[in-house]
Symmetry: C2
Subunit: 688 residues, 2 copies
């Protein structure tokens, strides 16, 4: 199906699909939501006889065979069923009697734009997946896995017919492994999670001021001097590329140049723009000055040597060269660079960087790679083959996605990350409603240049222990944005399904829930974690980089085992509490009073519980002032709702408590996520 025809069909089918979304919202918790879907009244039961047959399959090590084995293992782990056949196409099992039939036309070469469509049918007599490519069939398996549900007497697959394909070809997750190194197993489990939600680009941010993470045999100084021993061997990189390929996922590596260059210049100071400077691996967060010297021929020799060796480790055609946030301070200060600019008629830093990028583009081309970079690379002379990664927005004084529109109008292909910065720790709904397709009139040609988007997991404030809880489950909702129809944007429905997908994420290995439990055990020094857990349900880590403001409180080796690290961007109780407040205030629904009071009672008891464990848990002491504030808020609120009124004095006290900033010495770095709801309730009661 051509993209255009498909878009038209989408418009026609929109209402049908949305209706389906409504009808089945309480049974089907798929994420991403399929393009077309029809439930039937049957279920397929998971029993010992379960078997998989891949039609036309000869080799047990093909991509789809291995995916089928993983599928069986996940299903078994989830359901506890002792299947007799642990592998597809088992000897002695007649093809005709298989539970799940998989039909695939061809094995894909993993690259941008391959056919990812599939159809899936589940009835009470059998299940079938049909796909042009094995990648499509694997998407079918990811969907099927999410269709497992508990039924009377056992686990079943929900009866359904699905016809599905992605809206965008580029559905990415970027992991920054420079700020905090992420070991191979962390990368692998996140790739498994990507496959579960049909993301297909793993963007690997491999260098930054805080480290260079790739073994290089021709330039060993890079990893020896600028990684603290934390880097990937070439064998490991090839292993990851293969691991991703096995799951239909492209790997796009990034070396960030010419800025973000502290690690490069720690190894090769002679390539720096500030002569005589002693560069060192950065331990803080922020934007730093070390920048490669674009006027030095040795810089290009170095980059040629580097890409010559590293490019072949990756199979994808794209290599991301960063190019962002170069403020050019060292360029300004260096008279030789200024002289070079004059001689070459480069009127500003931007033109100098263009000069650099264009030379880099030629080096990449020599090694079979196409250049992509953050939006700053989009300058008049940049070849149209370059891919523009749109990222800046309000925080950077720009309109969100401004560069995306500019890119497509200038003839560049582009992807969007503005709106998908999951390290901002915003609520999932803030990301979910951002669409890669801007709300402006574009020609078909222009629209087609928007390839998709990427969630970006910058790692200044995450470690291998916490990174899963920062990426997931929110990124599943972003994955839906990239895959599903534009009209799928019901927030309640999304949240409901997100809760289920979170469980499947744990099934495939994501440690978001496990890590929170561990962090609370550690904070409590292995005492009762009840109060701490309660507090996490209404507390969210500081958002939009207000944790570690200035970039110097936290160093790369600071502890990320604090209460803020145990809290997540969408605290668990916030939505249900908000719904109660809304019902009480907006609909004057008195029946929710008891539920509200239960919340307040629970919150009011937290500080006392924490005090019982505090004597043996120094980290709890830091939490108690906050818990006491929450407790006083809860007590005033409870009394107010019980009495259906609040005095002016109490209201002022409540406001003061709600607006109180954390004691800077405590550095708890969390905010009370129900603040505005309690305020709403209090103001309503004050008016009564």
């Amino acid at each position: 199906m051509s993209n255009k025809l498909f878009l038209i069909l989408l418009l026609v089918m929109g209402s049908v699909r949305l209706q389906a979304q409504e009808n089945t919202s309480h049974q089907i918790h798929l994420m991403p939501w399929p393009q077309e879907m029809k439930t039937n009244d049957s279920n397929f039961s998971i029993t010992e006889d379960f078997s998989v047959f891949i039609h036309g399959e000869q080799d047990k090590y093909t991509r789809i065979s291995k995916a089928a084995v993983r599928f069986i293992r996940y299903m078994t782990d989830k359901s506890g069923v002792f299947v007799t056949q642990g592998f597809p196409n088992a000897k002695g099992v007649a093809a005709s009697s298989a539970s799940l039939h998989i039909y695939v036309d061809t094995e894909a070469n993993i690259m941008m734009g391959i056919d990812e469509s599939y159809t899936l049918t589940v009835t009470d007599t059998g299940m079938e997946i049909h796909a042009t490519t094995d990648v499509g069939a694997m998407h079918g398996l990811s969907t099927l896995l999410q269709l497992i549900k508990a039924d009377k007497g056992g686990y079943v697959f929900t009866g359904i017919e699905i016809k599905d394909e992605p809206r965008f070809v580029w559905r990415g997750l970027m992991m920054d492994v420079a700020r905090h190194f992420m070991p191979i197993d962390v990368v692998k489990r996140n790739i498994d999670a990507m496959a579960l939600v049909k993301l297909n680009v793993f963007h690997w941010h491999l260098s930054d001021d805080q480290g260079f993470r790739v073994e290089t045999k021709t330039l060993p100084e890079l990893y020896k001097k600028a990684s603290d021993g934390l880097y990937y061997t070439q064998a490991e990189i090839k292993d990851i590329v293969k691991y991703a390929d096995d799951r239909g996922i492209r790997v796009v590596p990034e070396f960030d140049v010419p800025g973000h260059g502290s690690a490069f210049l720690t190894a090769f100071p002679e390539l720096g723009s500030k002569k005589g400077m002693t560069y060192s691996v950065e331990r803080n967060s922020g934007i730093f000055d070390p920048t490669l010297d674009p006027t030095n021929e040795k810089t290009y020799e170095f980059l040629d040597t580097l890409f010559k060796e590293v490019a072949p480790l990756f199979t994808d055609v794209y290599f991301h060269i960063g190019g962002d946030e170069n403020e050019g301070k060292h360029w300004h200060e260096n008279p030789e660079i200024q002289q070079f600019m004059k001689e070459n008629k480069l009127k500003d830093n931007h033109e100098l960087q263009t000069y650099f990028n264009i030379r880099l583009e030629k080096i990449l081309a020599k090694y079979g790679k196409s250049l992509m970079g953050w939006e700053e690379i989009m300058t008049p002379n940049m070849p149209k083959s370059a891919l523009i990664h749109s990222w800046r927005g309000v925080n950077e004084g720009m309109q969100p996605g401004e560069s995306l529109i500019k890119a497509v109008k200038n003839g560049y292909q582009t992807i969007l990350s503005n709106g998908y910065y999951i390290d901002l720790l915003l609520s999932v709904e803030d990301h979910y409603l951002v669409d890669p397709m801007p709300d402006v009139t574009l020609t078909d040609k222009e629209a087609k240049r928007i390839l998709g988007g990427e969630a970006t997991m910058w790692a200044e404030l995450v470690t291998p222990l916490t990174v899963d809880s920062r990426i997931w489950p929110r990124t599943a909702a972003i994955a839906e944005r990239f895959w599903s129809a534009q009209e799928v944007r019901d927030i309640d429905h999304m949240y409901e399904r997100l809760n289920t997908v979170s469980q499947f994420l744990e099934l495939v290995g994501i440690q978001h829930l496990k890590s929170q439990e561990y962090l609370l055990r550690n904070i409590s020094n292995y005492q009762d974690t009840h109060g701490l857990r309660q507090l996490t349900t209404i507390s969210e880590p500081f958002k939009i980089y207000s944790r570690n403001a200035g970039g110097t409180q936290y160093k790369t080796y600071s502890p990320f085992t604090l209460f803020a690290d145990a809290c997540i961007a969408d605290a668990k109780a916030v939505r249900s509490f908000r719904k109660l407040v809304d019902a009480y205030v907006d609909q004057s629904d008195q029946t929710v009073k008891e539920d509200l009071m239960r919340y307040f009672k629970a919150w009011g008891a937290i500080a006392d519980q924490l005090k019982t464990i505090e004597p043996h848990a120094p980290l709890v002491s830091r939490v108690i002032p906050y818990a006491e504030r929450v407790g006083e808020i809860a007590v005033i609120s409870e009394k107010a709702i019980e009495n259906k009124r609040i005095s002016e004095e109490e209201l002022q006290r409540l406001k003061a408590l709600l607006e109180q900033k954390e004691d800077p010495e405590v550095n708890l770095d969390v905010e009370l996520a129900v603040t505005k709801d309690i305020m709403k309730l209090a103001e309503y009661l004050a008016k009564n």
Copy 2:
């Protein structure tokens, strides 16, 4: 210090040490317990100024530097302190002002028998570690880490003076990665845990009937046909060897031959003892017949090729060749083999296996390796250089450790594993009191041949998800047996410390606690896990191989996500309940009545809670009959203790309930671990 002098000193100092053990048991939770120790009244506070100085250190990538970095990270994670200096020997920090000084004479070559001693001093002004080798100093760091405790206002290191060295040179953990493959990250985190408790041999059981786990370039059929794609690349093996070496740990690989040969023969059927047989990778557990043909010259050519390629991947001198459980059925059945035996005057299978082993010993010697094997290799002609791994005991119709005594009397060096089979899922105390030094008179020379022991983690019934909870924390107590003085054997003190070491095990990455939480979430289908968790505190998985009796219920790909997998060998409430019962019955202590009743009340409520979640959790249905039995037991017991009497009828009912075997259809595979305590209580009440 010579071993002999040290042993004499031990005898002299025994009482002093035991006294110290008593005096400080409530402050110091070290495991293994040091040889000599004296606390002082001071503590060293962990503050932002904390720094480490390694004297004479030049290179930041030496073993001890890397260990110091790990130490700082662990300390930071545990304490939440933002240290200014994240690395040892930080620039600008005067050596004299460092918090922790490390003095090391030499960097060791990791091999058997190196000096592992250290001394450690902690006062309120500073800390020092002195050691002959860096390995000794790393042991000092492991001790120091365990000295972190909560104090008023923050975390501190306990003031202490320690002089320490191991009792045995061989302190091992065997991991079977053939029955269930264990990925690299699982191996690595277990090596980190070994370092924490000063184990120093990682024995890697790399082949068995269920799989061959090593990439081989000369014999690729092995991993291609007999691993299901689950194997270690050579790069990964070298990485693990290096990782272990960095932690002072030797890696001893094992290929189990000539029995346990299904994987070998799946790849090379022509080497099998049964001609024309179609071999395949085994999916069940048990002892199987496939055996290499020791009369076929091609067998030796094959082994020569294999060891030539694989031996250099490992740096240790020992290569374990298995040699166990060859029942020789296929040898008996093969007339050519019988003919060969006649011609070569080999009177039985045992002699034929000796012939095989001796040829294998020469192949290993060619590639610089010494042979070790399970005790069956000990035959009259076996060279004395072979190391005998004693394992059989009561289960195999032998006296425990019988072969160990025979070995040392015959001039062989030996290590003990009988008594340390942690896959039996026995209580930790059953392992803790087993000593490698047998209770018989040995000459000094003979005693010195006992090198130590190994805990063995056979993997028929464990997966990457559950293996940590099967190894830990119990193996920490076994590690103490191998390290500490023989007289350190106070069970209560061990349990008390085991609980603390369990927390440090989680700090270094062990997932025993995380996995249990996850398994309960999965069983409950993400509902309230309260009742399930309660039930795990008194339920233990079937012991001594009575789970999966016959080896056919569970296949390698069966689910290990069941209630039995969430239970552990030492259920959490058992010891405290037992102490209450003992106090009540043995000391007629009536004050514990309320505590006992609280337990019974809690247990009596479990089934009802489970029924509330059962409708949406099929796996809970399997647990409910057991929970109901436990509930009825609890109700009868509660009533009995409340009334201080039990009727004959109730007593009989209670006995019937306690003795009731599980419904085989339920296959819950757990036992109620407080059975005999409740029986004791009931019989006491019946007599009153």
